[in-house]
């Protein structure tokens, strides 16, 4: 019987394997070295690969990320860690005006094979400046690829794929998933970016979920099943490239769709997916494409308020019932 690993370890194993296989893979970030990462997410890498490949940066997100881009242009494959997704705001210029555009600007002659890895997620009382995920921003920028893994096995395979990809890939890790376990996959299993998966088949409604929302969708689907409603769960895994074909195929069977995300709803990623489904599966829809996201507020720390921020299984189930 295969053993299970945590999400945290899934990513870490991917790093170990890719760093062993390819000397051009390096890791940069704050306290990723001897300290092993503030979430223990880089434990052992420093001991295994040394200070030249596992680089503790100063608190200089903008400059350090810009250097990762330069290193990528010059032949490295850096994995750059932004401790909290909220601090990605400090890297946007380098990300958008350099990393995303180098391939295009050079007419294909230069590439930026790097991974920007960051954490996100409301739910640990961390509050307004330590809970955000900006996958919606990144997905809007031509030239970037966006991965939001939902479990340990996927985290590992997708991180490997991201490292091997020749384009800048953003890899969003929900901290609430770090300790969650899943069956490990084979060390040499790979998966191209842009391929989604159906996690639970169902005939009545398609639940489109990424990252942590996959677990929420599962719980909702179980509750709905007890009422005779069979929800199909589709995890696109990547926001760019988006597996439109899989999503549309599902919705054309179920005739209903609910798209969910853990970041604020307004102008977030559910909008693109819902609009796409609404446009391309219009004739198959028996109900409007519904969306659920976080409330459009900063994240409060208080224990009475924080649990109200993100979609819950109850809210998902209620939204589905309202569509039937």
């Amino acid at each position: 019987m295969a053993e299970t690993i945590t999400f945290r370890d899934g990513v870490l194993e991917a790093l170990f394997e890719e760093m062993r296989a390819d000397p051009s893979v390096i890791l940069m970030g704050e306290d990723v070295g001897a300290a092993g990462g503030v979430f223990q997410q880089t434990k052992g890498l420093f001991e295994a690969f040394g200070a030249r490949r596992v680089i503790d940066t100063p608190i200089s997100e903008s400059g350090a990320f810009g250097m990762a881009i330069g290193a990528a242009m010059a032949g490295m494959r850096p994995v750059f860690e932004v401790m909290f997704g909220d601090f990605m705001t400090l890297c946007m210029d380098q990300l958008v005006n350099q990393a995303a555009k180098v391939r295009y600007m050079s007419n294909g002659a230069a590439t930026v094979p790097l991974v920007l890895r960051t954490t996100m997620g409301v739910g640990a009382g961390l509050g307004p400046q330590h809970s955000q995920g900006f996958h919606a921003w990144a997905a809007h920028v031509p030239g970037l690829k966006i991965v939001v893994p939902a479990d340990a096995a996927d985290a590992k395979v997708l991180m490997k794929a991201a490292i091997r990809d020749d384009d800048p890939v953003l890899f969003f890790e929900d901290r609430q998933l770090y300790a969650a376990r899943a069956m490990a996959r084979d060390a040499d299993e790979t998966l191209p970016l842009g391929r989604g998966r159906i996690l639970r088949p169902g005939r009545d409604v398609t639940l489109v979920a990424i990252g942590r929302m996959v677990g929420v969708a599962r719980a909702a689907a179980e509750a709905l099943a007890r009422e005779g409603i069979e929800a199909e769960i589709v995890d696109p895994r990547c926001l760019v490239p988006l597996d439109e074909a899989l999503l549309l195929e599902s919705v054309r069977r179920t005739h209903r769709a609910l798209v969910m995300d853990a970041a604020p709803l307004r102008y977030g990623v559910t909008a693109e997916i819902a609009a796409m489904i609404g446009e391309k599966a219009f004739d198959w829809l028996d109900a409007p494409v519904a969306r659920l996201g976080a409330v459009d507020t900063p994240a409060p720390i208080s224990r009475s308020l924080e649990p109200l921020v993100c979609p819950t299984p109850e809210k998902v189930a209620a939204a589905v019932r309202a569509m039937m």
């Binding site: 704050e30 961390l126 459009d296 720390i301 208080s302």
Partner: protein
């Protein structure tokens, strides 16, 4: 680790420190009381954090009381401060009621920010506090901007920003120092240099021989003081504040100090060296100032003990208040996003 040219060991400031003699307006028992208050408040928070009662991350400033108090008690009412993630001491010194501060840290309804913001995001504008801040360096431009506003109004206030040694490497600091210098803004930059940013030693990530030089390069009068000595900090701040008020522009004060409890409540601090820890603990700002007060016959041991007892009681009451306080009402979730 150990002593380094960039950071004076054992709490001693560099030779450039201004003399730490008492000034006329100094309320020495007020300084002492506020430092003791911060220490007891922080140690209560440490216990609450260990008990799982504080949502999120809590960064405590025990050990840094002299920098908090020495700077802020040298300011006038109406002056601005901008703090950082290790900011409870700043809030208290700037006048935040400790019961409401404790309630905020616990995420309770009567908290200064309604219990929604917590330790890292206490904005207390009525007391001139532009906020603790979850973004390293985030408060620096806020203070510089408040200084710009004060100067535009001509009402004479000044602003102080606090930041750790970790923020020395944020480009933002350099941008703000440059602008403060070219515009002669009434702002004081205060680096609370406690030798570490999270688990990384300052020396490992910070180039150059001197922290103070990071201000001097912009032509900003810069000084390094013993951050464990409240009078030294206060004296440097008074001089800087005076320059700011008369239109002579910004100053930079580097306070060498020490965070007893590590990065966040619960940090095991394996990365620290025991010898170094002992040296700094011997320079404890409360113990050394208490000794000075007794030596100078400004207070007896009994009087100081009485102050401490009063503080302990206040903190106890504040914690009890905060623990008993209700959670924010769920209707407030989406309040105050927009006007």
């Amino acid at each position: 680790m150990g002593a380094s040219p960039k950071r004076a060991a054992g709490g001693a400031g560099s030779k450039k420190a201004p003399p730490a003699a008492q000034d006329a307006a100094e309320d020495c028992l007020g300084l002492y009381r506020t430092m003791v208050l911060i220490r007891h408040f922080e140690e209560s928070m440490r216990r609450l954090a260990a008990a799982g009662e504080t949502p999120g991350l809590v960064h405590l400033c025990s050990g840094q009381e002299a920098t908090n108090v020495g700077v802020i008690l040298a300011l006038r009412e109406g002056d601005y401060i901008a703090s950082h993630h290790r900011g409870h001491g700043h809030c208290i010194a700037k006048g935040a009621p400790i019961d409401l501060l404790a309630a905020e840290i616990l995420g309770k309804a009567p908290g200064i920010c309604g219990g929604r913001s917590g330790s890292m995001h206490v904005v207390d504008l009525p007391r001139g506090n532009l906020g603790t801040n979850g973004i390293v360096g985030g408060g620096i431009p806020l203070a510089a901007g408040a200084a710009l506003a004060a100067r535009a109004r001509g009402t004479g206030e000044i602003a102080v920003c606090f930041f750790g040694d970790g923020a020395l490497n944020q480009g933002l600091l350099h941008e703000c120092m440059n602008m403060a210098a070219i515009w002669s803004l009434p702002v004081v930059f205060v680096c609370e240099n406690n030798g570490y940013g999270e688990f990384t030693a300052m020396e490992d990530v910070t180039a150059g021989e001197s922290v103070q030089a990071r201000g001097e390069v912009f032509g900003i009068p810069s000084v390094t003081v013993d951050g464990m000595n409240v009078r030294a900090v206060r004296a440097a701040t008074l001089a800087a504040a005076q320059r700011a008020r008369i239109g002579e522009g910004p100053s930079f004060i580097v306070c060498n100090t020490w965070r007893y409890g590590g990065h966040h409540a619960g940090d095991k601090q394996d990365y620290k060296d025991d010898e170094e820890t002992k040296r700094w603990e011997a320079a404890d700002p409360l113990i050394t100032f208490a000794k000075t007060l007794v030596d100078e016959k400004r207070a007896s041991r009994d009087e100081l003990a009485a102050i401490e007892a009063e503080v302990v009681a206040r903190v106890k009451a504040a914690v009890a208040f905060a623990r008993a306080a209700p959670q924010p009402a769920i209707e407030t979730l989406e309040a105050h996003v927009h006007g």
